[in-house]
Amino acid sequence: MTLQDKIRNFSIIAHIDHGKSTLADRILEFTGAVGTREMREQFLDNMDLERERGITIKLQTSRLVYRADDGKDYVLNLIDTPGHVDFTYEVSRSLAACEGAVLVVDATQGVEAQTLANVYLAMNEELEILPVLNKIDLASAEPERVKAEIEDLIGLDTENAPLISAKEGIGIKDVLEDVVKHVPPPGGDPDGRLKALIFDSYYDNYRGVVIYARVFDGSVRKGDMIRLMNTGRDYEVTDVGYYAPMPVDTDILTAGDVGFISASIKHVADARVGDTVTLAAAPADAPLKGYKKAQPMVFCGVYPAEGEKYESVKDAIEKLQVNDAAFQFEPETSTALGYGFRCGFLGLLHMEIIVERLEREFGLSIITTSPSVIYRVVMADGGVEMIQNPSNLPELDEIGHIEEPIVKADIMIPKEYVGAIMDLCQDRRGTMLHMEYVTESRVLLHYELPLNEVIYDFFDALKSKTRGYGSLDYEFVRYQESKIVKLDILLNKEQVDAFSMLVHESKAYFRGKFVTEKLKEIIPRHQFEVPIQASIGQKVIARSTVKAYRKDVIAKCYGGDISRKRKLLEKQKEGKKRMRQFGSVEVPQEAFTAVLKYDENK
């Protein structure tokens, strides 16, 4: 096996779009792990959706061999990290598997909210952080300014920081030399009791769940009985190996190594990120620190759309969950939408990604309901209920008070947008903790915000109000008592449960007005007038009306052209099929998503 001092385990961290994946691609290319010809853009991001959105959702890792300037060969384990605020925990576990992190900062943009968030995570894991300035080829690059920012904000020495262009392949070798020279080799006792950290896992049709692990102490071989310490289950190892970046089987993984273990585990949820792998026969004394159970923060209902089968949705959701331990679901029913699922996600992006995968990868037609957070409902009798589905809110007279989750949000913006963003945060019931000038031109706002204000459209609003320059990072801090009310929507006097939502009292009117106006645009005219009402309890707080149509007829007969008439009628019938029937009112499917969209003017 490789001697430990020839191993370097490192990650690349960056704010979204600063070029992390491109740098990973170049490193793979440079070390010959992937030929230029077989190089797909962003090799490590292997889902189509990831490539399209330019963000990493699932991790991939790769073992590279690099001959350094000192003439020796080094094994570099590059551990990719997901690049979004929703996946902070997963990022932290990937970092825990490393000794060093390459911090990529866009030389045209400078330090952003997620740059800092990631740096703090890396610091928590006591990693050696190596700053790199990317996009140096662009005319707008300002390496000196950005270096100063990194020194001021993060306190890293940038004197020898490589100036690179991942896109153009400039400076890649400098980065690798830095890694070899400055990232410490892994420590750990190869003869000790096995302790390996799970930092990712995925489901493979042939191997079952494949664990990505970093071995800290001891070693693991094919045939060993392993134990996952937090779940307490034992499994027999069927294969071990590493990715280069294609899978390569080996005999053993030992202290300092990064690789994969497969052990006929059925669900990724059984091999949760952060758990510790040890040997059943000679278990370690204690698991590695830092394990957390996946904790969904955002929930919504997912229902088969008209003409879609419940079973197909169920199959797809189950398949997705096999590969995504953070995604949870349970069956639920809605009077309006029938049988469906209540799904839990790490955050809004996570939710959007899952929904999009259901639609695109599985070709499903689904309806999602308003996203919700979990409210802590303290009952009059002192009991506590955690409620995320508005329909499950207990009767008002049984409720003592309701608490909502609060997050600490770090928002980085160019200074000219401070006013607009402070207005936005205030509008979203935020409390400013403090504000700091990161540089002369950029400001970091620290706010506490109710999570339910963040999940609707906060990110869209932030992007739109800062022309895309604003960035956001948030984490849960506590539950706090709040005046939360249930807002119901009635169509033609009948409540449609799928539209119900829990909102702050101060927001109920605007929300109600927005939804009733939006539905008025979307619901087609009927033979009768359709009143749309928003109510809290019995009290109607907003109202709009879809007028009845008076005329719907093809007057002319087009000289015997029946096919044309038939096409028009078929189109009309098709449109009707895509409608959901609520009582006597027909509602197009898009109504459910449209009422959630950010609207600059509202």
Binding site: R550, K551, A555, K556, C557, G559, G560, D561, I562, E570
Partner: protein, 388 residues
Amino acid sequence: MKTSDESSPIGVYIHIPFCAHKCRYCDFTSFPIGDAGTHLAYIMQVIHEMRAKRPLLSGGSARAPEADTVYIGGGTPSLIEAGFVTELLDAVYAGFRVSDDAEITIEVNPGTTDAEKFRRYFAAGVNRVSVGAQSFHAGTLGFLGRIHRPEETLRCVWDARDAGFDDINIDLIFGVPGQSLSDWAGDLAAAAALDPAHVSFYSLQIEEGTPLFEDFVCGAIDAADDILDRRMYHFAKERLAARGLCQYEISNSAKPGKASRHNLKYWSMEPYAGFGVGAHSYFGGRRFSNTSELACYLSAESGVAMMDWTHKNTLSDDMSEFIFLGLRRTAGIELSRFRAHFGRDFWEIYGEETEKLIGRGLLEKIGDVLRLTALGLDLANNVFSEYV
């Protein structure tokens, strides 16, 4: 479906695609071409088409197929030389056994006719004239992009009458942006004063691809208000009925016995054969459409080459068309006839939809007849779309 082609006489349609000027609302196949050379080439090609399609129409029989209606539509058939109309009808008489009491209609546009033309049409065997008046209000005509003045319509109708025509239809359009109810009342009164046997009254449809549609999309005009449109429609039905013209189809009223026999074929699943660019046909259980490209039509050597597409109607096509076309007539559809045609019970197939539509007040069943109610006439697409 038991085809009635062999027993039912056919309706012959001839499309004349030429116009002096394209109207702003029109999306029919038409071309602003005025030169007699093109007209001649076109007429020759139509005559060629009639000959070429003869075997198809007679189903291999040696006898010429029987026809009891002929309709020369457009475009503007009155734009071309009257002599060409004579040529066309002679070709029809040569290719079909035209019955003695056949209805032979020509569409004319005011401003393109004179007394002599009508005399020649009459001599050629035409016995019905359909006048594209559209309106008698200069503002409305201007908006629609019509080239004629209201007085020209009067002249046109008088000339037709003088030439011997009794059977005269007047086409009107309502629901035009800017048109008031009193403007429309004026149009109806002016039309009624000419004592036509038949009036067609169309609610303006803003069709995609027309200049009117462009104006509508860019917001230069608003579509007429639904409520006003329906008031105009109801008003027209009543006014015309008071003058002895009873509604027999969504957009048509006529004196007793003067309903357009040709148009009734479209709504009754009877066979018709269309000749000319963009013309449609239905016979032998198939629907056909000719190409709507003039150059393509003119250069085609065979009848087949003129075709854009053909479609063999399935049983369900035929059943749905029987219903949604038949219901356009105020007489409705006879359920016993449905059974005789298709050998199946209407209620077994469409019971559920039909009950719902009756419940919504859009359809009514009177004995053997199912027909649209007054409300159903306003919301007919709602009914029809349930049967496609």
